[in-house]
Amino acid sequence: MRCGGNRLACCAMLVVLMSAIITGCSGRTELNEISIVSASGIDWKDGKWIVSYQLVLPQAISSHGMGGGASGAAPINVFSTSGDSIRGAISKSSYEMSRRLYFSQNQIVVVSERAAKHGLTSLFDAYLRNPDSRETVNIFLTKHSARDILEHLIPLEEIPGAAIARMIVNEENNGSTLPNMTVYRALLELLGPTKSSGIPSLEISGTDPLDSTQKTAKTYSSSKIKLAELGLLQDDKMVGWLTRDQSYGVMWVRGQIKQSTVWFTCDDNHPGEKAVMKVHHMKTKRKAVKDGDNWKLDVRIKARGTLLEYPCEADLSKPASIAALERRAADKIALMANSGFKAVQEQKADIIGLGVAVRLQYPRQWDAIMKRWNEQIFPEAKIDTKVDVVIERTGMSTDSFRKMQKKAGGS
């Protein structure tokens, strides 16, 4: 081809050549030059950050049909580096790694209680500043060291980091006891008016941690990773824990229940026998009300659900008995919500959202009380909970088993 004869072709050639010369393929990273981090852990010990990494060993995971491979090898490898700063610690990983650590596929970050109490400013800053640290990573607290959590295998699952991330999603969708917190959502709350957030924690139950594939050969696990309590963060520090029940109440007040199961006494004569309702739809309206010098949170909860268990004897074909049942369920929910509210008040960290409501409804007053909110005003606040429950279906039967049995005996 005569160059100059066609400018277009020449330009194309030039672009290709230039990009070859200028870039030199230098931005390229082959898949076997990176090591994928599936979970990372942050510890604070003796004035230093200890960062732990859970690396995925791809060969061990998908050794199916790849001609043997290293079966029996653990699918992950955990190691730690320490340093004065988090990123500094990470950069030391090159002393012991043949590959570049690849954080973009990181699923969870586990922060130990000690590190959380020290303060997480540098962790959050690292997340906001670096493009390879994704804010969609799930964040967890733990009372153990973060590294212990990372070393723990999870039965059925190949990548523990991803499994824990799915665990909290599963919990959010089916239990809704603990919130599913990503770094992004934690940042949103911590940068919000009340500067507080609640982050779920992980615990290892059992004494013999599942840290080798030999131990998974048995039909039961000697120990397990479980979702535990809700850690409360105020500013950048952890201030205390809420139990699961308290956390559940908070979830009702915050309106974060996606699907959950509520049980309540259906007959005062038999307090041990509980009716169970599956809540599949709920809505919470929160309103701040000024009450003298105090503030009050007005909570209106509407929940709809299906009856799952009913051991009592009322005639469910009558609307009145359904209404009674709904009232009992509503009372139970209100009780839980109030106890959650009280527990949060004791920790002086407003993760309920009262502060947010005050700021939206009374912006002028908020400016004046903002500084004293968590310490002085929020713990004095009151809650007024009104719950409205609708039982939409009673399941496939109307009468309870016991009633049917009685009927059969009577005839």
Binding site: V16, C25, R28, E30, Q59, S62, M66, I159, A162
Partner: protein
């Protein structure tokens, strides 16, 4: 019959010179013809003498093999032999031509060159002593392939015949579909040595006559010694050569050609090839298959959209794979990334080299599949599928994912109904792969941008390549992109068909309820 338009620049032109007239002497003429044809042994000269015309010296000359000898015997020799020449020599030639010879077309030639060309066209020449004029009777024929099923553009439902190598047959096939008085045919002879007949077919009231005139001029300007296939013409007359995208389509199906005619396109038939050219075209024309019109509109729409997708896949998939696995690993879901990473363990080459290697291998296989003798076919497929595919993976030279990517790309390439467009995506693929290997998705986007700018600038006989989308032509863009029900396809597709844009009234059939 066919006007001879050889008037190129003053290049070497061996059979040029001043046109010389035939001689009145029969012997001189015979000598001249024999000499011009180099005393070829297939040149037949037969004297015509009969008792019915004493004293008349007459010969018939033709070239064996390109004439139909039966026709010569029945329509020329028999009647001439039985003819009793009237006195008054002056009207002999006229009488012979008009009353005696019974072939379909005859003409009178008086120039040497004309006479030779007539012989070469398969006509037989009747020379009479004492006359400068000879009669050329059209007896062309000879062995030719009969109309058969199409080989390259098959359909499940629809007409099952294709063009042949004979242009006269092809025109006939086309005329039999479009029985309209608006059917127009212009013929040209192109090629100094091959003197190939090229036919330009268009519809009088549908095709823009300015474009017809332009095409006519481009065909007449062709100066070449031989035309053996329609691609010769295509490269000469298409608007731009330096582009991977074809600006003319080809078809071997008469029904498809008729569709193009009715859309306002022109058909160029070339003698000696079953592939007819069609133009002007737009980019989107290349994704319409003949069968789209013969199937229900819903499945046709689905398949057409699938073809666009497959075209993009065949152009982009390997480059996207390279870009994502070497630059943007964060885009992949974790399980997929881990699966890909485990496959890449121990692969010695970078992903770009791996992909290029596999793509080139496939191109070699494909070319081998086309070129090889039929008998060795099974050997190639064993070597190709087993040795190169499976063993390369087992030997750890390429990753299984790459084999899947390359195979799917290759298969997607065959979905495009027009091979010329499929080839375009094959070439572009390699460039994009290089760009992806160097710059990641940024490189692919840069390349695509460049392509789109280039395509928007392309013209096919003055019609913008990206019409009806750039520039926007609202009436036809839905029909171009998807296949509407027939009653809704009101407008002819090509932008040039401004002469008679409506195909039909475009009403929904009255019996169909809303």
């Amino acid at each position: 019959m066919f006007s001879n338009k050889e008037k190129g620049p003053s290049g070497p032109k061996p059979d040029s010179g001043k046109p010389e007239p035939l001689s009145t002497n029969l012997g001189v003429n015979i000598k001249m013809l024999t000499a011009k044809l180099g005393e070829s042994s297939d040149f037949v000269i037969r004297a015509l003498r009969s008792d019915a015309m004493p004293g008349v010296e007459m010969v018939i000359a033709y070239i064996k093999g390109i004439v139909e000898e039966d026709a010569i015997h029945q329509n020329v020799i028999n009647p001439v032999m039985g003819w009793s020449a009237p006195p008054g020599k002056s009207s002999w030639i006229e009488t012979l031509r008009q009353r005696v010879i019974t072939t379909g077309s005859t003409k009178q030639v008086s120039m040497q060159e004309e006479a030779v060309n007539a012989l070469l066209d398969g006509q037989c020449l009747i020379l009479t002593n004492g006359f400068r004029e000879a009669i050329a009777a059209d007896t062309s024929g000879g062995e030719q392939r009969s109309v058969a099923e199409p080989n390259t553009q098959t359909v499940i439902r629809g007409p099952q015949y294709s063009f042949t190598e004979n242009i006269a047959t092809n025109i006939g096939l086309l005329r039999r579909i479009v029985r309209s008085a608006d059917f127009r045919l212009r013929s040209y002879t192109v090629g100094r040595k091959t003197r190939t007949t090229v036919g330009l077919v268009y519809m009088n009231n549908i095709t823009d006559l300015h474009v017809v005139k332009e095409v006519e001029e481009r065909i007449q300007a062709i100066d070449i010694d031989g035309i053996l296939e329609s691609n010769y013409i295509e490269e000469f007359i298409s608007d731009q050569t330096y582009t991977p995208f074809p600006t003319m389509m080809n078809t071997e199906r008469p029904d498809t050609a008729a569709t193009y005619l009715l859309d306002g396109q022109m058909i160029i038939l070339v003698d000696g090839t079953p592939f007819a050219l069609a133009g002007p075209v737009t980019f989107f024309h290349f994704f319409r298959s003949a069968e789209d019109n013969y199937q229900r509109f819903d499945i046709s729409t689905f398949l057409r959209l699938l073809r666009y997708g497959a075209f993009l896949v065949s152009m982009l998939l390997p480059s996207l794979f390279i870009a994502i696995t070497t630059f943007h690993q964060e885009m992949l879901p974790t399980p997929l990334l881990i699966s890909l990473a485990s496959q890449r363990e121990g692969i010695p080459f970078p992903a770009l080299v791996e992909a290029l290697l596999m793509e080139l291998t496939f191109e070699v296989l494909r070319e081998a599949g086309v070129r090889m003798p039929r008998a060795v076919g099974p050997a190639i497929s064993i070597v190709g599928a087993l040795v190169l595919g499976q063993s390369a993976v087992q030997a750890g030279l390429v990753s299984p994912a790459m084999v899947i990517v390359v195979s799917f790309t290759a298969i997607s390439n065959f979905v495009t109904p027009q091979m010329s467009m499929a080839s375009a995506s094959r070439l572009i693929r390699f460039t994009l792969m290089l760009l992806a290997g160097m710059l990641g998705i940024f490189g692919i986007m840069a390349g695509m941008l460049f392509l789109i700018i280039h395509m928007t600038g392309l013209r096919s006989f003055g019609v913008p390549y990206m019409a009806p989308f750039a520039p926007v032509k609202r009436e036809t863009w839905l029909d171009m992109l998807i296949r509407l029900p027939w009653w809704a396809r009101v407008f002819r597709l090509v932008a040039v068909s401004s002469v008679n844009p409506r195909r039909q009234r475009g009403h929904r059939p009255r019996h169909q309820k809303e």
